[in-house]
Symmetry: C2
Subunit: 558 residues, 2 copies
């Protein structure tokens, strides 16, 4: 493989990008950019996988397991190897020394080759992501393809930069006055921690999985991929490609392996406390994330858990833009993003806008109308909403109407291509956000918990000051992946910035165009902050990579 | 203050140093470099502190506490303010926003000014460190002065570099084909986590304290300094200087405060779980370090705990050099360094050397003779050994003779200047290191536990292969701050390197001159690896600083 010629320029450009944080991506978002037959080939490749055994040729396979059912209805019928971890884990360690000795640059370039081959099969991945996450095709294509590949490349880039901050060797000479200097020859090696465990999620198997996978692999660690049982295929394809590339590049393919689980096995819990597992990346529920942080003490644990995302609506100079921006944010993937706003904090006495003053009721009604307008056409609604990922989301949605006055009821949308898909528009529920509902120690207001799915709360607060206090409390106690705010007041803007700086929350201000609070772009935006309870790490920064390896020094007299 | 003119060149030079890892230090090791009257002035300044109240003018002082007794005998008679933490903690947060807004460069330069003022008072600090740690004067001067200042500066340098990897702002413009590009203005702010707690140690109050203190302060966090009750003075002086500089630079002096504790109060345990405390740096026992890691879940916890340091003796091309190098390493500060070798693994059948083959007994006898020779003169012994830091060390030393055959008994040395000082030469005890003593699950061999103080074990192993297996097991299970090895065999060298790379231990090979396994130099050597149980962090690397702040992004439509 001509790794250097092919990929070094991309790595250099990526290193520039993470320093400038200007827009950049080597992965096209346009389906047509993948060749004339790209779309048809990708669909055919996906279809060829259905109803088959997904062979991986990894050691220690003691059975086959599967059972994925598309949120769009069809059973995938794919079986994956089930691991005997007593065989697989030792096999994964066998290639570690050679992978370590290869050094940071070779590891980065091998990772880039893996990503390039994934990229070439973006259409195939799009179908795999769509039929495991329930994302609509275009979103599965973009978020599951180029955006996920970007995040993987970003992680490789940070990992490379971090490992090469220290030189490979140094000659150290300390003057001793008239005597000879003290001299040492020092060699520095980025040494991996051990096997990394990636625990994948249902909604974004590649986007949330690639950062940890590639950060660990690029820093020299074998990676065991434990996908969500409902979203195995995208990560199984990833593992297969990684193994092929590793093998072709002369490394042990067992540096990357799959751990598909039997129904109800809970293999993540078993694996997480194994002494061989030294790094864990996890996206999912707060309960299991907290359990991992408390119990997997032998490992570095990186978690993205739940949060309660807030948008503070104080005032706006572009009322129409705000409404349509919010409507899109609430609708995209039926609100099943960790970054979707949940609580819209609106002053009870209304807000000022470029279209005149608007009462609380008017603002809520206008947001509801904007969502209805956006999703009025079923074809467009299907393309934006995708399908509900699992019955829990549907149950939460069904229960939300009872929590308060419904400003916008959820609507069932029929998907003509997939009649079994459960497609729903978001519900918006009005709630009273007076201080008494959240200031006490025993607050139990609905809006203080995450209600994952297409559910938003229009929370009436007494003032913007109250909104900011509630925002602070929400971020501090419940966490937040995103915060949004609309204001024309310099004072209010400064105040919301201060809350976000103090509570470590990522803030989007006055978004009224084609960028949404729930979207982040690799190489430029940080996803999460790692400084509030929603996540203990950010994608992607130095802290995300710097503890996945240790710098081991060997010094000898010169 | 002309911070930029004065300190920016030093910061730039330090940034170069951590990248090249060549020798560099701006702090002189020579007592005479501190001015003609430096020594006398420093002694006088130290003496003027004795028997006084150490005023700090920090909020929430509810009493006075003290009781330090020099390991050399005299009571210091100094009283320090005792904090009411309900008052002090909120006061420490008051200046956070301004300190955050100052940005990474100003914070770094203010830290450099603090270090410069500490450096100017190195003689005074030397006496303070000597009479709290028991280090001999010259060591207290160098390790407690310039070397500690180097480590503090190194931490500031890493902190500055880490925070400035991300630009302060970026203009992001994403092409949209024929439509206008999507444009965002993004501002990135290094946001502190909250109050950092430094829990100081008895033996190296400044050297082990400065990295955490300065890393936290430079990343925007207030720092509460909780010194070891027997080693308050060096850190109290540090806090006073930091408060002066902060105040003069226009910041709130309460960004750095002292938490001296009443006898038996255990204030560290109380502070460690306070919600305001978001970062903890700790050097000390494994038991309390483990407790912190398990219980201070609201904080980032950086610990340096205990380890069992090993030297593998396989063969040598400079027998005399090896003997004298080892003798010095075992003797320096009576073995009371976390880096002092404890277990000398020597093949039962002897080793090959440039002076012919040497049996196990000969090697042990020759090491013993070398130590005796080094410490034969009482003046030299006092200058090297210092005093035992506390009665526990003495008890362990006294108990060691019963563990096996004594190859070198400990000798009591009289210190004519300080007749009450407890000065002892190291004991060397022969132990059998056959596999049966350490391979089982319930091994209880003396050499498998840390015996902190002037106690070394000459462990007879069946082969170098056995030595390496024992080394691996020791590092993996007990941790190690340092590993040393002597060998002329390329194969053995490669094998010990492999163990250290796999178990994340810092290795010194064939040291026979004036550099010792227990010494590390800032800007070049890593102290600990953070990858084995002896410490969860290394001094100093990216991981030591990157999670003390979070990068908060505020983005708005352009």
């Amino acid at each position: 493989m001509q790794l250097t010629e092919t990929h070094r320029p991309t790595l250099d450009r990526a290193l520039e990008a993470i320093r400038s944080r200007e827009y950049w991506s080597p992965h096209s978002e346009h389906p047509k950019a993948y060749g004339e037959t790209g779309a048809a080939d990708g669909l055919a490749a996906y279809q060829a996988l259905l109803g088959t055994r997904f062979e991986l040729d990894q050691p220690g396979t003691d059975g086959w397991t599967g059972g994925e059912v598309s949120p769009y209805g069809p059973e995938l019928g794919i079986e994956y190897p089930h691991p005997d971890i007593e065989v697989l884990l030792p096999a994964m360690r066998a290639g570690m020394a050679a992978w370590r000795e290869a050094g940071p640059e070779t590891r980065a370039l091998v990772c880039l080759e893996i990503l390039a081959r994934i990229s070439a099969r973006t259409h195939e991945f799009a179908h795999a992501v769509m039929h495991t996450s329930g994302q609509a095709f275009m979103m599965a294509f973009q978020a599951g393809g180029p955006h996920a590949q970007d995040r993987g490349l970003e992680a490789v880039t940070y990992a490379y930069e971090e490992q090469t901050r220290t030189p490979q060797s140094a000659d150290w000479s300390k003057p001793q006055g008239k005597r000879d200097p003290l001299e040492l020859r020092k060699v520095f090696t980025a040494a991996p921690r051990g096997i990394a465990l990636l625990i994948g999620c249902n909604t974004f198997p590649t986007w949330n999985g690639y950062p940890g996978l590639f950060a660990s692999l690029a820093t020299g660690n074998p990676v065991l991929v434990k996908p969500h049982p409902r979203a195995v295929l995208p990560l199984a394809l990833t593992v297969r490609i990684a193994r092929e590339v590793l093998s072709e590049a002369g490394f042990d393919p067992n540096l990357v392996a799959l751990a598909a689980e039997s129904p109800g096995e809970g293999i993540a819990k078993t694996l997480a406390v194994r002494p061989e597992i030294r790094i864990i990346d996890y996206t999912g529920s707060t309960a299991f994330g907290d359990w991992l942080e408390a119990n997997a003490r032998q490992a570095q644990v990186y978690t993205e858990k739940a949060g309660v995302n807030t948008v503070v609506i104080d005032s706006t100079g572009d009322y129409k833009g705000m409404l349509s921006n919010l409507a899109f944010s609430l609708s995209l993937y039926s609100g099943q993003m960790c970054t979707t706003p949940q609580n819209l904090l609106i002053p009870r006495d209304g807000i000022t806008t470029d279209a005149g003053p608007k009462s609380y009721d008017e603002v809520v009604a206008d947001i509801a109308a904007s969502v209805s307008g956006l999703l009025g056409d079923d074809a467009r609604a299907n393309a934006l909403l995708g399908a509900l990922v699992n019955p829990d989301v549907r149950a939460r949605l069904d229960g939300a109407a009872a929590l308060g006055e419904v400003a916008l009821p959820s609507r069932e949308v029929v998907n003509p291509d997939f009649p079994d898909a459960v497609v729903r528009t978001p519900v918006i529920v009005k709630l009273d956000g007076a201080r008494k509902y959240w200031e006490g120690a025993d607050e139990e207001a609905s809006f203080m918990s995450e209600c994952f799915g297409p559910v938003s709360f229009a929370v009436a607060v007494d003032s913007t000051t109250d909104a900011l206090d509630l925002l602070r409390r929400t971020v501090r106690e419940k966490g937040a992946m995103t915060v949004g705010a609309y204001t024309t007041s310099a004072e209010a803007e400064r105040a919301v910035e201060e809350v976000c700086l103090e509570e470590s929350a990522q803030l989007s201000l006055n978004l009224t165009g084609g960028v949404y609070v729930n979207q982040t772009a690799a190489f430029s935006d940080f996803h999460g902050s790692g400084g509030n309870p929603a996540a203990n790490a950010a994608l992607c920064d130095g802290a995300f990579v710097s503890n996945r390896f240790r710098m081991v020094e060997i010094r000898r007299q010169a």
